[in-house]
Subunit: 336 residues, 4 copies
């Protein structure tokens, strides 16, 4: 039994993570932390979990965490997360970090997008990006994994196969994403107030969203060339799911069928990517770790569509998938 | 042209009120107030109104308001509202108060339910309750009208005809209401955060909601007997609308047809109440000042269902209806 | 491994059932049936299940079903269901019937409410009603279980403890239920068209809903006296969940605390009923087999609120719970 | 008073049109038609309109329509619409056609996209496209106006100013639209069933949507060059509104500020287009005839975002705007 701690356990990703781990035969959740000073039963913070997990959220020190747990899922905000990771790794803990702290390789770029100095910059470049479909072998050997952002997961899974194959131009890629509101977190904000975002669609962070450099970096690696995407996220009046619509220019003529073959081959053995000729709906992946992908050639341009559940394949499911790989467990454990 | 001010113009009721008044041929909106110290164009506070109304929300004194306006719609919180009303009336202004401050007749009951001393208690008993279907003649002569609460409007319109007719028992009345989220106001709160209230139904304020004594008072007046209802409000994942399902015991056998006749007669000349044999949907009154009512006898018990738009017939539309009556204008002006 | 067939596998209950059974360690799904004449891969009918279950929906005879399966979940329409059950039982199959065919005891009452003669009326009275919280021991020995309706489940779990304890009057019980739209099934209908039921609440089947006699029967049994409820279902713009608000008259004074004690005792050992002092939300049971219940005394009247996921505890989860009991498996298998 | 008929009055566009026309001081609605053979009160077909319009939907011949009305709004399906228009025009009626029949100029292209021969092809090229912001003077003189599609309205208003100014390349334009479900009409279909499209996003008609050639044609005219766009519509779980996100390549460097100036100048005198620096939300135009537009330069690419209410500016509001222009009435009558 692997003893597991979750740092920052009051948010939506942590809730989904706990629900997944409760079904994991090799895991025992032993610690849940919070910045609140008074310990509260998990059922008070997440009423969904009442009678299912007899633990409290506690304001624990990292040493206390290290005593109780073998592996740590870190759901802290960026900055705070790296500070915790830098302490936990020397104590021999394996860490899966949900924050953005170790996703980028370059501390300077991190400072530029996140507006703060990275507290553990030296470790950035060596940390593996936790997308099993691209980096499975490195994840297996990792003690620290940077769990990908939700938008990057959907965009990279749609585009990487074509860039690796040299089938599309690295220039002029457009990524238009539509996300449910749970991706914005649990803290109430005016634009997330029900009557404000219900029955409405809007774009946000146009040209400024922090997932843009993350997508750039991973797609550049896939292309072997610099990729700089135009990324536009949109807020959709629903809880769960991201649909990402990507537009790319084939290097030479590429029919829908040929394009789909590239996807089919790339994902032939993947347990959680389903390539289909039918247009995907977020509904069909909600609550699952699946990513459904479809491609179409429209007037010579490639349109690649992918859907994920932003809290599962886009966060907690991916984390469990990485956890399984890091611990030599069957990759799909607790995920089907 | 009647010059009109709106106190506390940043909320949802004020937005709907402005939209209605912009269509009113006898009204010019001349002042919008806010507690914020910096004046802001109305289009910044309510983007819906950009290019439609060239006014700023300003932190005005009541004297400044009185100089600019002949009539005042007061959308301030309870307590603050009565304090403003008590100053405005002596200046000769007609006031329609959206708050609960003048709905109850009894200062002691107000203190009990609202937890504060009423700042203008002497005026409570003499203030008319602004439900035209019950108090039209008194409203016509009023200088101050207490605009009804949204739940009370839906419940009273459903039940008053039967109590006035002596057709149902004043005892044992149950009122089960379902409301869209806009009724809870514009301020972000954890339980109104989109991912918390989307795709979920819950009751709140069971036995403690402040609209309960308001309903009691008006229904008691209609019955000529003390009525003490059991009132349960529920939050529904939609913006607009209240459906109220009332259960009452007929005094003697009362078929669905006879019950509907009572409604038909009571509302025969009402411009905004539609009695129907078909079960009502909030959708059919959304954005309108209508109240649709249907009654059924189920196993000897009367089930009366009513729907309104909580922000229109339940707030701003009723206010304009009252305004029209107070100013001897056609009652439906700006409301159809 | 128990081989399992699902008859009528294209609806929402069947989808949820398959998802649960895929996690069941003692079950192998071996047959899915449809009235369509062309066999279709389950992933075409339920895209959620693509790559997860390699089966087709087939137009199988009951003999073919009996060859392939040891146990049968019957998701056919009423009437058709009893016809199938009557054939399957003599072949030695255990059956869990999702339809209403064996819920009522009395063929005459069935004819009255369902408008057809019952094809297997003799078996009605002897069939156990599959609510483990009331009939666990009988379910363990049953070869046929009538899986309860979704509304009855929520209402009965809220009220039965008080009726069994003789704490509330069997007269004058009011049940006001609010349900998500998935309860109405997968067939498109005008009132279930998205723009018609989105952003709207309405009642339906007032005084005529077929779950009313089902509630009557089970509550009467609990009370040891005839119970005839007033039941009003409402359609809520969300997918999943039922909130039922029940109103009942205590026989003698009964405080909130005492009432909650009755619930606490009744459900002390139940794995899927959570009694709580906090008002319940359907969100907190969505996707689970839990029923959350809360009680309040309001002005002498008892208000009991319960929430379930209509497709899980209200259908497929209950079916798996019954299946587990019938097969001497741990009751919570595949349900946590 | 202009007597007005609405052909095909049972759909959502007709409902919105009636609501607008009820506020129009120069209009009397005199006929509503339906293909149903039994005449039904409008309040039965559209319960929203009960007590507001005392008319029946009738199966009238075009001659009967011509006797009753001076102007005709035609909400019939494509094909049927042109057949009616070809009869009504010789009778001296002015017609605003909601269908696609007269939007394209070329009968051959029409056949290709709509799969049928055009019944009145000769009139196609001479019919004015009813977008006042581009064709106001021609509309004023027209007896027949082709009311634009909802997607084309949002896309053309976003892009035409830049193409007219020669500021963006006519090549490589990408249009990614997100629409509420009411745009798909009132007829129930499996993918529009509430539980199917609620809480889900999907694309549809990728590369095959009939609005694509319509956008091409009008933008080509604006550019003075052939434009062939890539257009991807998406279905969003809400009733109303379209957000269109356009991606285009500036011909030479074009800052956000300069791009916004182009929009500001183009729309300076337009009553229903609001150019803003803030990102638009469909909520802010819901129920109105406004189109809000915002532009941003992202990494050298122009991102232009526009929002409309698909049933108002995208259909019925535009129709009334065209009607006002055709009848020399103030353009904003009944629309503010």
């Amino acid at each position: 039994m692997i003893r597991v701690a979750i740092l920052g356990a009051s948010g939506y990703s942590a809730l989904e993570l706990i629900k997944l781990l409760l079904r994991h035969p090799n895991v025992q959740i032993t610690a849940l932390t919070t910045r609140q000073t008074d310990a509260r039963p998990v059922g008070n913070v997440h009423p969904e979990l009442a009678h299912r997990l007899d633990l409290r959220l506690e304001n624990l020190s990292l040493n206390q965490v290290a005593e109780r747990a073998d592996a740590v899922f870190c759901c802290l905000p960026h900055g705070a997360s790296a500070a915790a990771v830098a302490e936990l790794l020397p104590l021999g803990k394996r860490v899966i970090d949900f924050s953005a702290d170790y996703r980028l390789n370059d501390p300077a770029e991190y400072s530029q997008w996140y507006g703060v100095e990275h507290p553990d910059g030296a470790r950035m470049a060596e940390t593996v990006y936790g997308l099993p479909e691209l980096y499975r072998e490195r994840i297996k050997k990792a003690v620290l994994v940077a769990n990908p952002g939700c938008y990057p997961t959907s965009a990279i899974l749609a585009l990487a196969p074509f860039l690796r194959a040299g089938a599309i131009s690295p220039d002029g890629i457009i990524i238009d994403s539509k996300s449910g509101v749970s991706g914005a977190g649990r803290e109430p904000k005016p634009h997330l107030h029900f009557p404000e975002c219900n029955e409405s669609v809007s774009a946000y962070g146009v040209g400024t969203h922090r997932h843009m450099p993350e997508i750039d970096q991973v797609l550049s690696e896939a292309a072997g060339n610099q990729v700089r995407v135009v990324f536009t996220p949109h807020l959709i009046p629903m809880d769960r799911g991201i649909l990402t619509t990507c537009y790319a220019q084939p290097v030479k003529e590429l029919s829908t069928e040929s394009a789909q073959s590239i996807l089919d081959r790339f994902y032939a053995k993947e347990p959680f990517v389903r390539v289909s000729g039918a247009l995907p709906s977020t509904r069909h992946v909600a609550g699952t770790n699946f990513c459904d992908i479809t491609v179409r050639n429209v007037r010579g341009r490639l349109v690649v569509l992918s859907v994920i559940d932003n809290l599962i394949k886009g966060a907690s499911g991916a984390a469990v998938q990485n956890f399984n790989l890091m611990h030599s467990l069957p990759e799909t454990t607790a995920l089907l």
